[in-house]
Subunit: 273 residues, 2 copies
Amino acid sequence: MSLQSALLQLTKGGPEQQAIDAGEIDAIVDYSSSNVILFPAARRALHASGSSLLAALPGAEYRQLLVGLEPVTLKLGQVLHEPAVPIRYIYFPVGCVVSLMTTVADGKAVEVGLVGYEGIVGLALGLGAAASSVRAVVAASGAALRIEAARFRSTLPQCPSLQQELYRHTDAMLAQARQTIACNCFHLSDARLARWLLMTSDRAQSQELFLTQSFLATMLGLRRVTVTEIAGRLWRRKLISCGRGRIRILDRPGLEAAACRCYSRIERQQLSG
Amino acid sequence: MSLQSALLQLTKGGPEQQAIDAGEIDAIVDYSSSNVILFPAARRALHASGSSLLAALPGAEYRQLLVGLEPVTLKLGQVLHEPAVPIRYIYFPVGCVVSLMTTVADGKAVEVGLVGYEGIVGLALGLGAAASSVRAVVAASGAALRIEAARFRSTLPQCPSLQQELYRHTDAMLAQARQTIACNCFHLSDARLARWLLMTSDRAQSQELFLTQSFLATMLGLRRVTVTEIAGRLWRRKLISCGRGRIRILDRPGLEAAACRCYSRIERQQLSG
DNA sequence: ACCCGTATGTTCGGCATCGTACACAACGCG
DNA sequence: CGCGTTGTGTACGATGCCGAACATACGGGT
């Protein structure tokens, strides 16, 4: 999938047309499932070291869940679930980063949550809903473990620790969304962009992110032009370097100083467990 | 408590000084407890018709919870819990409306959630946390039922329906926060203010709200002056009327048209149950 | 009846971000 | 190698909201 079609995925489909073409989604998901890694060794490696949420589970629950888990590779721009459409798979990111987007009535969208190895994509299912209220889009390619929705739903009641982790993560996502409200309200775009780079970098566990400035603009609800200007400023300050579809963090402490303190506040709650 | 001291409650206490004076909070809470209504009849009336969340519980759980519930009257500006401070009581609003506020590093705060008869104040406790990440402030005076935190925590595991309602409400609050992010990002202040009036009016079940424009400004993260200007515009359009510490909705359909569609989207999810 | 605290109304310059348009540069493919 | 596609850089006016300062009006208490 090209960057452009990825962006199309991001922006198409307003709230008035939530009954989107299910076939299209399936196609994307099927595309990812063709990348399934079948080697048990890889599966175990992914599982044990990858998801801090799964790693926190006791052995019994871990094994019970493992049966239904399937490793997949997710690519930038892939849509994992759409708002108001029943969730098919729950994803536990391992190396990928997933962005949650909410739309407004005229179709514009903005990121409202960021999930990595510490979390779950498809939380709503664990809270008893069949569908999420947001779109989940892959913001950094990488591996994930997924489980079918029905299977997850039937396993969850037998796994108290998984439940506990899920609720803890829900609390963290709630705090993340709420901090984002305050941050968007009071802080300048420069600080917000710096925060986004840091948060995504933390979850991708890499100083280099492969995405376009258009993508970034969509995430932050800014114009592409604004992102270019900010990136230029940060680059002149030697905090980052930019290429074509590539952003690298050069000076992490410097970037943290340029970001607002919402960064540390969110990460403390989110990545602490 | 005067409106001014209420506003002081709202704005004092930045994130750097989260270890606020516990004595002061206790004083406020004790003030409310002096207004406890002791008549069993009133208690029953409050319980049955007031909280749609409690009303959805089956008889057995209802009665089990009832033992610990205590009716209180909450006044504008009262702080029910502070971020990072252990929650003492869970509140089920009946006639009051409670606003959840998040602060940023420099102490400024903005509303990130609105709770009425449909919800719970102190959700974090139900998710396994001891403290919330937000401040809960009364935005419209009225009655509520409260229960001690420890008691709630011990009762919850025995009440599957209560758990289910709690998780359903958590999902709704998450959706509310996320929709607020998008709304603040894309919609003009006029529409946001209209939305706030409608949402608060729905929860207070009254066309008249008793609060100052300063209070409203704090909630929306705007200047008081901006609120005055917007209120003037809405008033000229005969949608609302304003008095000193009083706002009345005159033309509800008109105000809904002036608000963004985030209003109906949030209310559909939140008040549907 | 008066006064003072409190709430509301008005003005002014500043500026971050927007929408739009256009130019340039890198990569991929025939 | 040339060409179209895609990503990045620059310019310009418009505007919504901000910060600050000041003016007015309501209303309860002495």
